[in-house]
């Protein structure tokens, strides 16, 4: 398809006159290095606008409610939610470390198998965790509360704590409109739902890339010129020869699905992380899914993915495609933190082992053999996905008497 053809079909954005001028300028002089083709423009535009529209999560009856968000904030920083009384969510998801912990693999009571992801933009996800073992944000929040290596308080411990502590039971009542009841499982799930209400508020702010993208959308040359040339070159690689945007698709820079990015997935000698394959199996054996009794939506209107997900052999060793907003703040990278910097990530894609990668037949990633300048351009682009200004950090709430 020629650029001309697709320009014409996107006529709403460009007058015929400017097409002609563009054509003439292209004929009259050598094409300027940063002149984007219509195809490139289209591909760039689909990474916005930001932020996208969102709505409350129908599977969580307190999604978006201020009382639940406040209660979730209390819970997030409370180490009493661990069996030892020493570990809170904030141990591994530190607000001033972009909600991650800076470690390769996280450590609670024990070191776990994976890297703690940041907690940005989760409300746009379909699947949660590196292996997508959870189909809601609240179900994902249950995992550390149930896993002894992380916090492991469990349903009985959590219910006892909430019933006996006056502040927590007050917060619960405010958020859910009733005192904690008899069903321990239900109380634990409700805590996870209040935490989800908090995490839904963590949407990244506007970035230099968004300003460039929107300037492109309204044909504002001055606005486009403010974006660094190296970032434009990196962006072209990202949407073009690098093929990155096939997986890192859309406004959040993820298609929300799973892929093999050629990252080794040994946990230790003789033990591998099954990735998505194990995630689907865990999903199917969990009582805490959109198909179970804890879904607050009688219509099950968001359960299509859970109902139809397919256990593929190729899912073995696949991990969720991470979103890339604020990625410069969340080192180290990949599911087990195996790559230290963004330059290391780009180097990885540049030198990827095709033979290993294509064993399953899929052909998306290629060894890119990028030059040094191309690699640094790609890093420059990724750095423009950082919000500016940084949004204020969510802090542990001051002690306020809940009545």
């Amino acid at each position: 398809m020629t650029p001309w053809h697709s320009r014409a079909s996107a006529a709403a954005r460009l007058s015929a006159l400017s097409v002609v001028l563009w054509l003439l300028s292209g004929l009259a002089m050598p094409a300027p290095a940063l002149q984007l083709t219509a195809e490139e423009e289209r591909r760039i535009l689909r990474h916005g606008p930001w932020p996208p529209a969102s709505r409350p999560d129908p599977s969580n009856r307190v999604s978006g409610t201020p009382a639940a968000i406040a209660f979730g904030r209390t819970l997030f920083f409370d180490p009493r939610l661990s069996v030892s009384g020493t570990i809170s969510c904030a141990t591994c998801h530190q607000p001033d470390r972009a909600w991650a912990d800076g470690r390769t693999r996280s450590r609670g009571h024990r070191t776990v198998e994976r890297n703690a992801p940041s907690l940005f933009n989760l409300r746009f996800n379909r699947w949660f965790g590196w292996d997508g073992a959870h189909d809601t944000l609240w179900a994902q929040n249950l995992r550390p509360l149930l896993d002894w290596r992380e916090m492991g308080i469990g349903p009985a411990g959590a219910a006892r704590l909430v019933r006996s502590d006056r502040q927590l039971s007050c917060g619960y009542r405010r958020a859910f409109g009733a005192a904690p009841g008899e069903d321990d499982d239900l109380i634990l799930v409700d805590l996870a739902k209040a935490l989800a209400a908090l995490l839904e508020t963590l949407v990244t702010g506007r970035t230099p890339f968004d300003d460039f993208r929107d300037a492109l959308a309204r044909n504002d040359a001055a606005g486009q010129a403010r974006y660094p040339a190296a970032a434009v070159r990196g962006l072209r690689l990202f949407i073009g020869r690098g093929n990155c945007a096939v997986c890192h698709f859309g406004p959040a820079f993820t298609n929300g699905e799973f892929a093999d990015a050629g990252v080794p997935h040994f946990i230790e000698a003789g033990r591998v992380d099954p990735g998505r394959h194990g995630g689907i199996r865990r999903l199917r054996s969990s009582p805490y899914t959109l198909l179970g009794r804890f879904n607050d939506d009688p219509q099950r209107s968001t359960a299509a993915g859970t109902r139809h997900v397919r256990l593929r052999e190729s899912a073995f060793g696949e991990f969720r495609v991470p979103g890339l907003r604020n990625v410069a703040l969340t080192a180290p990278y990949m599911h087990a933190g195996s790559l230290r910097t963004l330059a290391d990530v780009v180097h990885h894609y540049s030198t990827i082992d095709e033979e290993r990668l294509h064993a399953g037949g899929e052909r998306i990633l290629r060894r890119l053999d990028l030059s040094e300048r191309e690699r640094s351009d790609l890093v420059s682009f990724l750095e423009t996905l950082t919000e500016q200004p940084r949004r204020p950090v969510v802090r542990k709430p001051a002690h306020v008497q809940c009545r």
């Binding site: 079909s9 689909r46 945007a245 096939v246 929300g256 993915g305 139809h308 397919r310 052909r363």
Partner: protein
């Protein structure tokens, strides 16, 4: 191979495999759009002709969609549906479910998770024939 740049599922159909019955071109011409539809795409094979349309339309990258279809031709006993990206050599991460009611039906649980060229592959089976129809669409 015909490729359409339109994001809607304006599809080109190719006949892959047909046997047992002689070509029935008149049957294809006679296959009318179902009365209560607007839009939709018509696909003529050797044995069957399909009208079908996605819901919601157009199909978007990584969003669940369903398909309604109507088949003209001999009685149908089974329809299967899958998605395939020929350039990447992978299919969908989801297993669609077909509900067949006479010559019509719906397919739920489809999701095309990447931009690029997708094929929607309909496997149709009757008493004496089977046929595979392939629709192609480029998602942006």
């Amino acid at each position: 191979m015909v490729r359409h740049g339109r994001p809607a599922l304006a599809a080109a159909f190719a006949l892959l495999l047909a046997f047992a019955l002689p070509p029935a071109a008149s049957q294809a011409a006679a296959c009318a759009r179902p009365a209560d539809w607007t839009g939709g795409t018509k696909t003529a094979g050797e044995v069957w002709t399909a009208w079908w349309r996605p819901d919601p339309a157009p199909i978007k990258v990584s969003a669940h969609f369903s398909i309604r279809f109507h088949l003209c031709g001999p009685p149908v006993s089974r329809v299967s549906v899958r998605g395939w990206m020929p350039d990447h050599r992978h299919g969908m991460n989801y297993r669609p479910v077909v509900a067949l009611n006479g010559g019509s039906g719906t397919v739920d649980g489809l999701l095309f998770h990447m931009p690029g060229l997708w094929q929607l592959i309909l496997g149709i089976r009757g008493e004496t024939a089977r046929e595979t129809l392939i629709a192609e669409t480029v998602l942006e």
